[in-house]
Symmetry: D2
Subunit: 346 residues, 4 copies
């Protein structure tokens, strides 16, 4: 059994980690760390866990905790892990970081978009970007895993085969993304109150959303040269789910099957990537509470543009599920262990 600790366990991604790990046959949750709710029962914070988890939330020294477990998940605000990480911790246990601290290789880009100083850039090089379908082999051996963002997971996987095969104009890429509200986290802000979000839709963080450089960096690796995109997130009145609608100009003439072949080749054997049948398009409900991403696309012949769509559950494939998929890889377990739930379409 893998001994697991969760820091930031009372945020929404933290809750999903606990929910999924409780039924993971090789994981044993040793502690649920929460600064805000320290010494409260975990099931008092999230009442779905009544009679399931009896632990109290703890707050403690990270170094000390690192000695008690095999792996720590940090579902924490930006800057927390980078501010505290050191060699001793990393020699004690593996770290799967759900924050953005170690996702971007270029510290200047991090500091520009996140507007905080990075305290431990020396670990950036070592950190592995944990998008399993892209980086599987590196993930298996790392001790510092940077778990991708929710929007980025959805956007990159939707576009990756196109970039890898160089069939779209890299200057034409626009990602219009739609997210449920849980992506914004569990903090008391007026603009996340029920009555402010319900029955409305809006774009936000227009031109400045922090997931932009993360998508660009990964797409650039795939293409082999620099990619700059527009990424425009929208808030949707629902709890879970992200739909990425990605638009790009095709460099040549292709029919549906040409490009479908490219996707199928790229995602061959990938259990969690579902390439839908022609004319069937992703809906977030079809992946809800599961680790799948559903993908499909349409070629618009009038404009020779590809319209590609990807849907994930932002809390699962976009956060906790992918983190566990990474853990499975890092501990040499079957990659889908604990992640086999059928989406709850209702």
């Amino acid at each position: 059994m893998i001994k697991v600790g969760i820091i930031g366990s009372t945020g929404y991604a933290g809750e999903e980690l606990v929910r999924l790990l409780v039924n993971h046959e090789q994981a044993n949750i040793k502690f649920c760390y929460s600064k805000k709710f320290a010494s409260k029962k975990y099931h008092e914070v999230y009442k779905n866990f009544f009679n399931i988890i009896d632990k109290e939330c703890v707050e403690d020294d990270l170094l000390k905790l690192s000695k008690e477990v095999d792996v720590i998940f940090t579902a924490t605000p930006q800057g927390y892990l980078a501010g505290i990480l050191n060699d001793e911790i990393l020699s004690n246990c593996k770290i799967i970081d759900l924050s953005a601290d170690f996702r971007l290789k270029d510290v200047a880009v991090y500091e520009k978009w996140y507007k905080i100083e990075h305290k431990t850039p020396q670990y950036l090089n070592e950190a592995v970007y944990g998008l399993c379908e892209i980086n599987r082999e590196k993930i298996k051996t790392t001790r510092l895993l940077a778990n991708p963002g929710c929007y980025t997971t959805c956007s990159i996987l939707t576009l990756a085969p196109l970039l890898k095969n160089g069939i779209v104009d890299e200057n034409s890429i626009i990602v219009d993304a739609k997210s449920g509200v849980s992506g914004a986290g569990r903090n008391e802000k007026i603009d996340k109150l029920f009555c402010e979000v319900n029955e409305s839709v809006k774009a936000y963080s227009i031109g400045v959303h922090r997931h932009t450089p993360e998508i660009e960096e990964q797409l650039s690796y795939l293409l082999g040269k620099n990619v700059v995109i527009n990424f425009i997130p929208h808030l949707i009145p629902m709890n879970r789910g992200i739909l990425a609608s990605a638009y790009a100009n095709l460099k040549g003439k292709y029919n549906y099957q040409d490009i479908k072949n490219i996707y199928q080749e790229f995602y061959k054997g990938e259990k969690f990537v579902r390439l839908l049948d022609e004319n069937v398009y992703p809906e977030t409900r079809c992946v809800r509470a599961s680790n799948y991403i559903d993908i499909n696309f349409k070629i618009d012949e009038r404009t020779n543009r590809i319209l590609a769509f990807g849907a994930i559950d932002n809390l699962v494939k976009g956060a906790a599920g992918q983190a566990i998929q990474n853990m499975n890889l890092m501990f040499n377990l079957p990659e889908d262990m604990g992640l086999n739930a059928v989406p709850t379409i209702l």
Copy 2:
């Protein structure tokens, strides 16, 4: 492995049966019966099953199908099973009926509330009412299981210990229930369209809801004499969940712990019944997509009335989950097999 067939597999309860049985380690789905979608792929009807189930929906003769499986779930309209059941079918396989056909022992009551003739009343006596927490021993040996209704499961379990112990005035019971929209099924009616249900609440079937006599019958067994109640269902703009708010006059003076003891005794060892801590009350989200019922109550000293609350997921504990719990009992499997999902609070 138990060979399983599902009739009415493309309704909402049918979908949940498939969803839960796919991951049940001792069940093997042999057929998904759907009159409406016969010969369509199941995953075309419910796209969450893409790459998970490749079966086509079938429509066939029940007798023939009964020879191919160990158990058939009928998630069908009232009157279907009663209109077709016979000895040969029952000798071929067990039946777990999610309709109301065999829930009420008195055929006259059935015909009065459902306004259809009962074609096979000869099986009413044999049928076992499948509320596991009440009828566990009988369930284990039956071949015809009447799976309780969603409202009834929630209402009866919320009130059962009070009736069993005779501490409330049986003439004072009112159940004000609130249900998500999936309880109404998947049929094309104007009053179930999104824009007709969203952002509104209403009572419906006032005084005539068919779950009324079912609740009354079971409460009467518990009390040992006839119980007549008011049951008032309300429609809530959400997909899943039932909250039953039950009110009754106490016959004597009790404090919270007195009655808590009664509940604890009654539900001793029941995994799926969670008696919440004092002053913590059920919320439907805390049981979502799980087989739990959460229960708690308050004694109002000003009126000497008990205000008791129960919450379930209408599609799981109120339908498919309980049906599988019954199947587990009927096939001598661990009662919670396939039913261990943690509620998805988000």
Copy 3:
């Protein structure tokens, strides 16, 4: 033109006051008072007012402000007005208080349920409870109007004719109420975040909700003797609307038309009370954004109980609309001025 000031203008009830008063042909908004957003443009706080109101929010001395207007609406937390009211203010302008400070005649009851000291009980006697359909004549001449609570307006109007005519057992009354989330106000609490409320239903403030004594006091006046009830509020995932489901034992045998006559007589000429046709029941969407209350009932012959239902928009008839209806009466204007919007059913 009536010069109007609004204190607490940036809460939800405050916003509705502004929304309705902007189009009121005899009202002229002089100031929007907001402690939290002082010196911000009102349309920065509520962006629906862009190009409609150009005022900044102010914070100032109440006495000074009282000299500038004919009437002040206080949509403020409990205790604010009671803590500051004096003769000079009341001689300068009329006050319509949307808080509970002057609703209950008995200061001990106020202090018990609200758990704050009442600083100016000397005005309790003078204050008029502003339920127009009950207290119309007194309202016309008062200078201190206590605008009823949202739940109370709905509950009292649903039950009033029954109490007035003494046809129900006053010891049997239960009100199970369902409210949208705007009733809880605009404050940053975790339990009002979108993801905590959406897709769930729960009871809250069980046995201790502060609207209980207010309903009881008014029902007691109607009956002519003391009434104690159970009032159980529930939170519904929608923005607006309250449905009160009220249950009581009938003292004699009545048919539907007997009691319909009682309601019709009681509410004769009341424009905003709509007594629906037999078998048509209130839905909150049918009164949304309007000042109507829709009412109907069913007699359950099996239990000889009446099941009565009332629906309002909590922000209009339950707060701002009723406050303006009161203003119209206090300034001798047509009672429905500015309140003629047809409900937005969609």
Copy 4:
């Protein structure tokens, strides 16, 4: 008083026409035509009108009805009006058609996208496209008004100043639109049931949505040459509202104020077009139940692309409100008569 008839009065756009016309001081509704609900009381179909409208729905000969009124609104399926229109009708009364029958000047384009034969193309030339902000003068004198579609109104108004001034590459335009569910109308389809739409988001009619050629035609007029775009609609779990997110490459270098000036000049004096302050972006709730369109944009310097956003209420500015705005113009009334409601942000 203008005598008004409404055909298709029981669809969602029809309901909004009735709702707004009831309080229009110069309109008098003579008949509510409904094939489906003929001889039912209108308030039985839409219960918000109880005690407000006592009319029965009628079904009758259009020619006969045309003699009884000054204007007829046709909120009918595509093909209805084109199949029945003749000179005599048009000589009897004006027609404001909310269907697409007379929006596109080229009958071949109509027949290609709508896949129905146009029976009366001889009226296409006479018909005026009723986007008031673009075609005001022509609207004033026409007797056949083609009321724009909901998506088209929002998309065109969001982009118009850019095209008119030729500052974007017309081959680069992508409109990613998000709509509430009422836009899909009131028909009993499984995919519009509450549980199928709630808590999910999806794109639909990808590459084939019928509003595409309508947007293209109007943008082409503005630019003075042919425009081909991608238009991708998405379904959002809310009743009302459309947000159009429009993306285009700028032909030159501009700062925010440069382009703001262009918008301000283009929409000078337009009451219903609100150009928001810099860094404030449209949200559909801010225009709900009103006739406003809120617009703003951002220039992304990294890609030299403009990201423009427009929000309307699809049932008001996108249908019934704009139709009444057109009626006002056609009958020489103040353009905003009956359209002054403040958006209901809650």
